[in-house]
Symmetry: C2
Subunit: 330 residues, 2 copies
């Protein structure tokens, strides 16, 4: 930390960068704790996910984007559980070469993302990391009592649906390495994939529809195939029509150029879409409600009896398992 | 990660080491989120603090001790806010050379510390740190609605009190470096200081007494003098009788051998004791209630009008300010 302009203390950082984001219950970040009380008749839903420079993101990504990403990966979990965001705590571990410019960009991005989600910063901790940066978020949402949508409660016969499009995040990550297939995409397609990797858009409007119609749900941030496997087990498998899995035009163009991309599309992670299991009799109402809020929701398969990994019926008539399963940074 | 025995996946780690600690609401760690609902008529109190290897602790400290420390620094904040612990989320960022032995020791220590505090593990995240280990805890407690004891609500004339003894943590840290004054301490004294540094004992039994009697409170984990300064301001200063600040026999012996240790004792941090401001008319009842639960609580000074840093009346009749104030790892 020698050389360069003097750094503010942790208290100075809090006052300058974080106190302006403080929500009700945070008392202007002037305390060591905050209060939060769920609305009457509601449970709080809690989730915590951290992202690390060089492991979960590129260290030179814009700091405002990283704030959006760190918040988005957590809000995506809340959305998939049917919860409405209320607030977050931030644990920010900074490398020794952090700059005030970086922090100003980060908090600006955080402010925008919090406002977009209608939730508040309630507190946190800022420390030296002694290594790469780590951005840890704990997010709080609420659901009507007992209403959290679980991961493991799908039943045989339920229809499997996924929001938005699958694989963009994984392709957006691979695009950063300059692959040959990138030449088959136009500029708008490349920009779409890059944006989908960098800027998760948690499916918050989906939360009440999941509570109303879904038997089980989770986001597919670790990859569609692996997360589907996590949802099932215990005598429940899945049969997925690979050709039904919704792809963006950019992902479809990439796949046409390089058929091997089907594996990262189905297993690669960094997709902040929601996978859910819906009873057959509830499917029409669910899809209709999704259409009503302008949210793409696609049936892609069925929960079947069995204990193996999810089976994918490929367009060529073969069946395939994606054994690599869930992507893990660990 | 090449070489050595194969490592379990993140899911494998969760199932083996963390799922056995899962409390109600965590659903056996089989979901991406947990639920928590405060008791009727209660607010949740939230706090998050992280500790980093090489910055907040020695990397070769026993992992069970580190688990106790990471939990203790957070539960200490809850205790100082008058809150009863309910549960925690854990963000564990592991260096590339982590071992299963380390993790087994860590989770064993965590289980013991959680049981001792009567609270549960609700979830969390395990990631690669790309550098030193980071142990981040988000802790949840509850207080009767509106009952959180604030940091900044002391009034002029309030008596300042502190629990336990001050300075042991800072001296325990310094002891690790083999200082000359260590020769003046017997083995039990050295063990006492080392233990006080390594094993915070959050003052959980104090929480209801703070709610009943204290106008303001905080823990002194960043050092007595600096944390007292944070409590005040806005025309409120403090006059502290330095000779009244309670010292353990070990700290008193160290101070007798090396008078300059008064500075780290009063500013050094790593003390998980509670500083509180009590209205003069409430003092006797507060001290009596503390005595009733066997908890040492010592009046050390008074909130006075003024805007400077806290003034310490020294035993030699001089007044001293400890301008270094609050210890910061940042």
């Amino acid at each position: 930390m020698a050389g360069g302009p003097p750094r503010p203390s942790e208290d100075g950082l809090i006052a300058r960068y974080f106190a302006p984001l403080a929500g009700p219950g945070a008392d202007g970040m002037r305390d060591d704790a905050a209060t939060l009380t769920p609305s009457p008749g509601c449970d709080l839903v809690l989730t915590a996910d951290a992202i690390v420079a060089g492991i979960h993101y590129f260290p030179d990504d814009p700091p405002a984007s990283l704030a959006r990403k760190a918040l988005g990966v957590n809000l995506s979990d809340l959305a998939a559980k049917g919860a409405v965001p209320r607030g977050v705590l931030l644990t920010l571990a900074l490398p020794d070469d952090w700059t005030e410019d970086w922090l100003a960009g980060f908090t600006e991005g955080l402010a925008g993302a919090l406002a977009g989600a209608g939730c508040a910063l309630l507190g946190g901790d800022t420390v030296r990391s002694g290594g790469p940066a780590l951005i840890g978020v704990t997010a709080f949402g609420e659901v009507p009592a007992g209403g959290m949508v679980r991961r493991t409660t799908a039943r045989i016969g339920d229809r499997l649906c996924v929001s938005g499009t699958v694989g963009d995040g994984a392709l957006g990550l691979r695009l950063r390495r300059g692959p040959a297939w990138a030449a088959s995409l136009d500029g708008a397609m490349r920009a779409h994939l890059a944006d989908r990797y960098l800027h998760p858009r948690p499916r918050l409007p989906l939360a009440p529809l999941l509570r109303r119609h879904a038997r089980a749900a989770m986001d597919i941030s670790d990859g569609f195939a692996g997360d589907l496997a996590k949802m099932l087990g215990g005598g429940r498998g899945a049969l997925v029509e690979a050709g039904a899995v919704p792809l963006s035009p950019a992902a479809a163009a990439a796949l046409a150029a390089e058929p091997g991309l089907i594996a990262p599309i189905l297993t690669g992670g960094d997709d902040y879409e929601v996978l859910c299991a819906v009873a057959p009799e509830a499917l029409d109402a669910f899809l209709s409600d999704c259409a009503g809020i302008g949210l793409a929701m696609t049936p892609v398969g069925t929960v079947i009896a069995g204990d193996g990994p999810p089976a994918f019926a490929m367009p060529d008539g073969t069946r395939h398992e994606f054994a690599a399963g869930s992507f893990s940074h660990f």
